[in-house]
Amino acid sequence: MLGNLIRDKGREGRRGYTLPRSDVEKTDLKKILPENTLRKEQPRLAEVDEPTVIRHYTNLSRKNWGIDTNFYPLGSCTMKHNPRANEAAAATPGFAGLHPLQSEAQAQGALQVMHEMQGFLSEISGFPAVSLQPMAGAQGELTSIIMVAKYFEDAEDHTRTTVLIPSTAHGTNPATAAMAGFGVQEIGIDEDGCVDVEELRALADETTAALMITNPNTLGVYEKNIEEIAAILHEVGAFLYMDGANVNAIMGRMRPAEAGIDVMHFNLHKTFSTPHGGGGPGSGAIACSETLAPFRPDPVVDEEGDNYRLVRPEKSIGRLAGFHGNFGVILKAWNYTKMHGPELKDVTDMAVLNANYVRARLKGTYRVPYEGLCKHECVVQPPKGVKALDVAKGLIDHGFHPPTVYFPLVVKEVMLIEPTETESKETLDDFVGAMLQLVERSPEELYEAPVNAPTRRLDEARAARQLRARW
């Protein structure tokens, strides 16, 4: 019987691709390489033909949901439609075939794209300086915090040992601070879900390097005291970093630099519609103030006369990518920005409208822990006695990808819903309808869900206990 993996579908000697015939004499490996460096056993890779490969991966894809197949309101992930024009842009041979080490003169088109994208992000954020190099949001965070660390090293200020992080933060924030060599101090939230300003005032001192804030935060709430928070940090000589996971809520409505933020990252794969690809590649571009600009990664793109050049910022932290970051993703985001222009504000408006609408419709049946407006995403809790996980799995049977559940950690049984602007009212109404129906079902019935998915619920403990991570 055929097994499930591509390798199980092969036969010895079968091939999926024919390479060009050699037009030079074959080099005898034994003559050019020491015996002990030669491979003794060939790797056990699949031996399959092209039809088998295509069928195998097409069938695998059918066991997978994406935005293309289902509504995917995964909170803090901004699962908006991925326009195919972006894909066409990145597939253009004049970009796809460009080697990263070709001279600046040979790469003017690519450098222009990067320079323009730096300008777009600068305009959207209000910051004078941008780096496109970080290859994911988490690396954008790391870049920002290492820049802060370098700033203090450069200033010979050795007292800065701590990064403050709100309890609502993404897990990447504390992990990033630790990677950059800082201690982490958690800071609580007030009754509105915002950073507790009094606690911040008590904690911020000359040991504070930065506060990492997400705005709007992971409860979908705009940090109402953002300017005061910035002022408190600046008073003690610390920086305010903004996690830009949620920029889809503020573009054209608020510019982080004007709120006193010093450095932030963007998720081009969220806000700027580049596909998430099953978990990457993304891009985590950063934007920062004049003060931090000299510390940006090497290189950034500058314009000199009619030419674009790669330059190393004066006090650069160095490089984070082998080359220029995920250029293909940057190119897609650039194309997206050009296809919206100043109307990016409408993107924000529709994203916020959709999230508030879903919340308003769920309210009453679902608990809404934080009243007031939400931004591009909202948190709700199922009625007492119903588990968020069960609702999530039940949604699958209705054809909806579940929202984020059990995050942020500060709310029990939480569901974090981010509809995005690319969904219609009809889709939202269907989703709300399913959400409302699900809480009517008995816990026993819900526990069985999903029944209409490629698999039932999994034994996750077994995967760790009997680790098998390869064929």
Binding site: R14, I67, G109
Partner: protein, 415 residues
């Protein structure tokens, strides 16, 4: 919708936002798809592409089977996210499992992760991992044989490096300092030379450090698996496995290690399990190492991997199979050696004449800048100027004898 929400205008949805941006974003006016793509093509034409490329140094101009693109443009893969809901993510999960399997097979190491951002970040993550595993300060031994860009990224990740002697194209591992957490060996190294992973491993074991081998995955079709040569961690750039050059990314970094080190291993790992009905399925596992659970004590802040490009590598490996991958390596080696011999005959010395190399080598030229200019005038993208009268040349299976002969002729005439 506004009525359901209970606000009167769209502006009302932003009543809580302060400071407000009241102006209009100063961005170029909105373009239609047709206009935007015309701009894409206009700028693409400002790049020099479509010529034979002799640049390598970490990114290679290899043949990508058309079927790779067909698979990774499937919307179900393209537009999904991290498989947090495994019931509807079995496609991505199994693809990761297969990617891990390919990496384990090539490297001879039991555990692989779902990929990291690129080769450079894989190297940096490995450097941090050696410190956690050995409980030493992050400090690793490297030589000039390690791609200098990788070394820079290690240092950006706040790991110290100490330099090992590099002589005749290979690293001298005879005097590794005792306090390092890791010993790095790239093979083939930055200059294309097959370096000594066994010697690195022997030196590392004497000081209880970890050996990290940095390997081009294509080379592992013909070279001994690093795991069999004593490497504790193998990492590298998966770009040669079916990813376009695309000015440096997105690519994918691969990482593999021994089972005993899995708790300190960064990144996502997909494992096999069963569902409620006992049906085989895949799920992200050993999640307690990761940032969303362990927060400040996680093995890394890494969250996403490069799932889509890792899928490209997986499909590439399936299409090639062990024999095809070996052919890619052998074709490249034969063509590179043909070119090296021809350059030699034309009077140019290899920088490391006695060192064993695969498809990349450094050759000494009187004027590298001029040679590259002449190559471009003749419709070729030359090699990397190493800055000291040497050019680093990469030859892949794509290059034809005609191109190689033309290369020699142009370089010889350039003086």
């Amino acid at each position: 919708m506004l009525e359901t929400i209970g606000v009167e205008t769209l502006d009302g949805l932003f009543a809580d936002v302060s400071p407000k941006f009241e102006g209009e974003l100063n961005l170029p006016p909105m373009l239609s798809e047709h206009e935007a793509l015309a701009d894409v093509n206009r700028l693409a034409a400002r790049n020099v592409t479509g010529l034979p490329i002799f640049l390598g140094a970490g990114a290679y101009d290899r043949i990508t089977p058309t079927a790779v693109g067909a698979v990774i443009s499937r919307g179900e893969f393209l537009t999904s996210y991290t498989p947090y809901q495994p019931e509807v993510s079995q496609g991505v999960l199994q693809a990761i499992f297969e990617f891990q399997s390919v990496v384990s097979e090539l490297t001879g190491l039991e555990i692989s992760n779902a990929s990291v951002y690129d080769g450079a970040s894989a190297v940096a993550e490995a450097a941090l991992m050696t410190a956690r595993q050995t409980k030493r300060d992050p400090k690793v031994a490297v030589s000039a044989g390690l791609n200098p860009r990788y070394r820079e990224v290690i240092e950006t990740y706040r790991v110290d490096t100490v330099e090992l002697p590099f002589d005749g194209g290979i690293t001298d591992f005879s005097a590794v300092p005792e306090d390092v957490s890791g010993v790095f060996v790239q093979s083939p190294n930055y200059f294309g030379v097959v370096d000594d992973i066994g010697a690195a491993s022997k030196a590392a074991r004497e000081t209880d450090a970890l050996t990290v081998a940095v390997c081009d995955p294509t080379s592992l079709a013909v070279l001994e698996a690093p795991g069999n040569l004593g490497a504790d961690v193998a990492v590298g750039e998966a770009q040669p496995l079916g990813m376009p050059l695309l000015f440096g990314g997105p690519y994918a970094g691969y990482m593999a290690t021994r089972a005993e080190f899995v708790r300190q291993f960064p990144g996502r790992i997909c494992g096999e399990t069963v569902d409620m009905d006992g049906k085989l399925a895949y799920v992200l596992t050993l999640r307690a190492r990761e940032q969303d659970i362990r927060r400040a004590r996680a093995t890394s802040n890494i969250c996403t991997n490069q799932a889509l490009t890792a899928l490209a590598a997986t499909v590439y490996a399936a299409l090639m199979g062990p024999q095809g991958l070996r052919e890619v390596a052998e074709l490249s080696i034969s063509k590179a050696h043909y070119l090296a011999d021809r350059l030699n005959q034309a009077g140019f010395e290899l920088r490391y004449p006695d060192a064993p190399f695969l498809w990349e080598f450094a050759v000494e030229l009187p004027d590298v800048t001029r040679a590259n200019e002449a190559l471009l005038e003749n419709g070729m993208v030359g090699g990397l100027d190493l800055g000291y009268g040497a050019m680093l040349i990469a030859v892949t299976e794509k290059r034809t004898k005609e191109e190689l002969d033309a290369f020699v002729e142009v370089v010889a005439n350039a003086g």
